[in-house]
Amino acid sequence: MASSTPTVSFFGHTPLTPTQSISTSSFLAGDESISIIPSFSHPNPLGLISGTVGPFRAGMDTSVPLWLAVMLRKRKLARIIPPHWMDVEVLKEVLRFERDPREANFSPLLPFRHAEISQSILMACKAGGGDCEIVDGDKIKLLLEDIATVRMDKIRKNVHTLSSQLLSRSSRVQPIIDVTNIGSLEMHAVKSFVVESFRMHRELSGTGSAYSDRNVQDGSQQGAAGGVEAAGRGRLRASRLVRQEEEMEVPRPLEEIEAEEEEDEEMEEDDGGRSRLRRHR
């Protein structure tokens, strides 16, 4: 049931606060498939919006979305079969992998939303009462916390390495940070800061928005063709108090100016009542 690629955000490009993003992530984790052993029977499959689940036969395991499994568990209508990675030995292996200094990446054994899924299952078992089907639930919880701490430390070291080796240098090549197998929660924790850092790096390197002109080293190769266009980018280009840069920089021949003025006068004679301000450039 490992889900390696995150699903598309339900809210599209709606800007969400970090709290909303994490809530959204928890909501989307509910779509993960999980096995349950129902204590009731229902011969007909249930037609849901996301798909069909069932039929349910008491004592026979079946695969349902996590949200349904949690709901049935809270009502003591089913027992959850924990995913294969929610096991003490597997988590110890993951922790050993994360602590290994030779391993720069994250362990592939955990799914993308492992934190949300594990919390949902543990809370559902606790709320539902009765014998908990999660053996050593407290140990699993502690191991998951240790793994989160070690992974966050690994992220911190990666960002430090990125800062010292790539971000503090001006480069035409965009720096890349490898987040393969990162968890959803870890991504939410560092996303805002890292995204802002990359954006600042682009601005300060001269490859960002309108206020960052290209590095002058490349400007000499562009020559005059790019010079005016690049020079035109700037705050005062939008100002109504300043004329266009081309007009100010390149003096126009007197004949051209006189020809334009004659054209304007002719047009005014035809138009009659139009404003004379057009003559003034």
Partner: protein
């Protein structure tokens, strides 16, 4: 980032830049605060023994090479067209660069200039534009120091990049991760030394890591439609 209507950009452009005219500017002697004193001293020397005290004639010109300080937004066009020679403010000078290279974390940019990086970014853009135009007019005006402007812009850009993306970024990131974990650690001492852009990064990082900590402690409630719809409407 910089925008015409952004208040922080407007504040960043208020930074005073020292300039020196490349030729005499008529009727702009009032830009030099010392010009009236100089005129008075000159008239006193000329009129020693005379009863006349009026100041007239030839006193309205801002002489070539006079050092004056003006806001960046006011001299933008002059610098681009090469009418003035620009000197970087002291906070971007060599002494400051040395201090930042030696110990970037301890430098209190918040008190020196809270818009340090934003002003530097705008200044770099200004110098690069001036350099590019100076190159185009190289054959027409031999006095345009295109290469000087270009070198100035590059060194400033590199200094800003090294300062912001180096040790200060790493320390800022560490504080965002630990600001909410250890209640006894007070981040205010760190935040006071940050510039505006660094503070913004810090606040966003703290908001994110804080949201994760709150989720771990209390889970998450129902997703309210009101908050999301409000965000979509905005």
């Amino acid at each position: 980032m910089p925008s015409y209507y952004d208040i922080d950009t407007i504040l960043a452009e208020e930074e005073l830049i020292q300039i020196r005219p490349s030729f005499p500017f008529s009727h702009l002697s009032h830009l030099d605060p010392e010009s009236s004193n100089r005129k008075r001293r000159r008239v006193d020397k000329e009129n020693v023994g005379n009863s006349r005290t009026s100041i007239r004639g030839g006193g309205h010109v801002l002489e070539e090479g006079t050092k004056i300080k003006m806001p960046m937004w006011a001299v933008d066009r002059w610098v681009v067209l090469g009418f003035v020679r620009v000197t970087l403010p002291g906070i971007y000078g060599s002494k400051m660069k040395e201090r930042l290279l030696a110990d970037p974390v301890s430098v209190d940019l918040g008190s020196k200039n809270s818009h340090y990086f934003l002003t530097g970014l705008l200044l770099t853009s200004l110098l690069q534009r001036a350099s590019q135009i100076a190159k185009r007019h190289r054959s027409r005006s031999a006095s345009s120091p295109a290469s000087q402007l270009s070198n100035l812009a590059q060194s400033l850009q590199l200094s800003l990049l090294t300062t912001m993306m180096g040790e200060r970024l790493r320390r800022n990131f560490d504080w965002t991760l630990s600001a909410l974990d250890a209640m006894e650690d007070d981040a205010s001492g760190h935040v006071e030394k940050l510039s505006f852009l660094e503070k913004r990064m810090f606040e966003r990082g703290v908001e994110s890591s804080g949201a994760v900590v709150r989720w771990r402690d209390g889970g998450c409630g129902r997703i309210g439609g009101k908050g999301v719809m409000k965000g979509m409407a905005a």
